[in-house]
Symmetry: C2
Subunit: 211 residues, 2 copies
């Protein structure tokens, strides 16, 4: 891998290219052009070439990319050439949806444990998972060898859970609580706010209306 700082937007698109290639590979497609990847994912062909160029030389001019090779390579770059164990805290509606979200498994992510401090939720099953008391978090993280934690608790509880995850030695956090968390620099954190994309839509609808 080249030693360049890769923009996060490139990594995000790489994830989309990777899924598209996985689908094509399953369908038996063997070769593809940057134009076809671009169309499948909804970006420009130049963007596809620029994004892939961060990671080396792919494809043959006039022939295109080998689908299976490029798929495998994108998975490797994304760290998805091996499975990941995750833990989730917050067994509410969102936690329930995340635990049963099939896209995670397809990409090699398995939520191994779900935790809550609500007595009415502890002991219940989400799919094949039993909701465990938060007191067992540390013990179970070690047992599962989990490196990534998902926060699906209400905003008020999110910082406390983030601290617990950091103290327990998790290396990365995906935060669904709509609040900014204070986290040491060596921990990777990304926030998912489900309404941000809605606001991109309303921004664009505003542009139409003003035409």
């Amino acid at each position: 891998m080249k030693n360049l700082r890769v923009p996060e937007a490139t990594v995000t698109r790489l994830s989309l290219y990777s899924r598209f290639l996985e689908r094509l590979d399953k369908m038996g497609v063997t070769t593809i052009s940057s134009g076809e990847i671009a169309e499948g994912v909804g970006v420009s062909p130049a963007q596809v070439r620029k994004d892939l160029a961060y990671f080396g030389e792919f494809g043959t001019r006039g022939v295109g990319y080998n689908v299976n090779d490029l798929k495998k390579y994108t998975l490797k770059i994304l760290g998805l050439d091996h499975p990941w164990s995750l833990v989730l805290v917050g067994a509410g509606n969102l936690g329930f949806a995340l635990c049963t979200y099939k896209s995670f498994n397809v990409r090699g992510f398995t939520i191994k444990g779900t935790f809550d401090n609500d007595q009415s939720k502890i002991g219940k099953n989400i799919g094949e998972l039993e909701v465990l008391p938060i007191e067992r978090f540390e013990e179970k993280v070690k047992e599962y060898d989990a490196r990534i934690g998902i926060i699906a608790v209400p905003p008020k509880a999110a910082q406390e859970i983030a601290d617990l995850m950091v103290d327990t030695g998790l290396e990365a956090i995906l935060n669904f609580a709509p609040v900014a968390l204070n986290i040491p620099d060596h921990i990777e954190i990304r926030n998912v706010d489900l309404s941000v994309k809605l606001e991109v839509l309303t921004f664009n609808l505003g542009l139409h209306t003003n035409k």
Copy 2:
């Protein structure tokens, strides 16, 4: 508003600035610098200034921005100076989580109707909403004056629901099904894949490991 093509990443960040300003405004903060906005949201001060510059001149050199004015202006740009009625199809776990997701309401989004074709779900309540049969979709979209639809059905059913939304006259779609949908150009669509950000995390964890 200047007549420039605004990058989607700028709109996304504007949404984050807007939330941050809303929080500050509630706390009674009256003035803020681009550096403080930057720190609160986790981007560089230059980025904040560049993003805001798409929409005009704000702030006073050496004084900063008026929090309440800038908050109101960001809401206006994002089309959030008035409420939005939404409809959602797919009353599974994810649909349930979305219908009860408090961030939507805070930003002026109200899911007015939830629809499914599963007899075991129709008639049940999600919060204050009753799950309605999909046959009543068109009638209800008109009654609610909804312009945005949310797709929370399994991938296999997503295209059919997208077609229904387009035929019913919705103008924008937020798609949570992990599948690319074919939509006419005049409809705004954005896809939310909950595992993309996980892959950004694993990419970054890979960089650490390779150090």
